[in-house]
Symmetry: C2
Subunit: 210 residues, 2 copies
DNA sequence: GTCTATAACGTGATAGAC
DNA sequence: GTCTATCACGTTATAGAC
């Protein structure tokens, strides 16, 4: 989005078709449950081409994983580091942007988190984008609010965690939500749309709780 | 727990050893990434014994999955349906009990949720324990509070979802928490202990937010 | 670049001795 | 009941024709 020169083309190359297919299947089933044949079929190409372009299942996976995590984190850091917006505005933006984002690709959170659980090969540590979050404007603004007595929770990380939890958890638990709540896809989407407005209100209330 | 005649024995049978090992490995790696050989090794027994006792990997998995989900849901429904405790008390109990529960077995939430994502074979629907949650005392009390104007959020499900999110999400995202926050295991446990007290306070504040 | 055919390997499951 | 040895199969990856 920020690095490409051309807009998303209609006619994709074979390589791109495979990558797109890999993305779909990996995100849906996870690494271990995915067979390269699934990807080839999804891409409408022959199995051999997958290895021709990407050498191995694992290499292809690493590319998808990296891009996915990067996309996720980058959106985050951009918002967190915007010096023009207030802390309250950042909360709104994160809730709103991420709910839209994940509504478009609902499998991303559970995919990322379940693949990270063993942190195989230390894939996480190799992502340079991650650490700066602690030093972001968001966290500085939080400390500032604490100093001014506008926030009762002094740990910025608990605060950040709560925001993420309220935003992302419903998607991760959507199978349960749909079953327990008797909610269908349309209703689920509507619930999440409501939450775009509710989360900032809730967070604001939590900030002053004691 | 409710069906056994004897307390947990020190000397376990082979069958139990296998089941315990299966539990450990499945919870850690998930169904697809687990090899029956991993389980056999973890149990300190021969691979053939696994099939002797449980016929197949899938059957063994279904047993583990069922027990895990049942344990999780049962604890929940017991608290939710206690007619003696107030809504506030239930919130305390859920936060406190589940944080202790998951601190003991941190892999349970991500395991359950990632295995449910495709809901293969409709495993979820076959669990009778799940539906009654909507009709629990917890939800009735919530409706009562709404009627009395003590709660601003009229949707009990959003309310319940928030409670679960604040309680469980940190565990699911613990790899990220540890990396981004530079938190080690001891500090993580301490953070979660703090949350046992904080979550009820936060929820209380959210209840009155508008 | 793309395909078919097949090699190489890993994994679930079983046969059969003890 | 427990083991070793092995089968049967599915999956990743490659060789080689086009």
């Amino acid at each position: 989005m920020t690095k490409g020169k051309k807009a998303k083309p209609i006619d994709t190359t074979t390589e791109e078709k495979i990558k797109e297919a890999a993305r779909v299947v990996f995100l849906k089933k996870g690494y271990a449950a995915t067979r390269t044949r699934d990807i080839a079929e999804e891409a409408g190409i022959n199995l051999a081409l997958l290895n021709y372009y990407f050498r191995s299942k694992e290499k292809l996976f690493n590319i998808i994983m990296l891009e996915t995590v990067n996309g996720f984190i980058q959106t985050m850091t951009t918002i967190l580091n915007d010096e023009k917006s207030t802390l309250e505005k950042k909360v709104e933006l994160i809730a709103s942007n991420y709910i839209d984002f994940v509504l478009r690709e609902p499998n991303i959170p559970i995919f990322m988190l379940s693949e990270m659980r063993n942190n195989a090969d230390g894939l996480l540590e190799r992502m340079p984008v991650i650490q700066p979050i602690l030093k972001s404007t968001f966290f500085i603004q939080h400390q500032d609010y604490v100093a001014k007595g506008k926030i009762t929770e002094p740990n910025p990380f608990q605060f950040f965690l709560n925001l993420l939890a309220l935003t992302i958890f419903p998607f991760i638990s959507s199978p349960l939500v749909k079953l327990i709540g008797g909610v269908n896809d349309t209703q689920f989407t509507k619930m999440m749309q409501e939450r775009k407005k509710l989360i900032p209100v809730w967070i604001k209330a939590m900030m002053k709780a004691k």
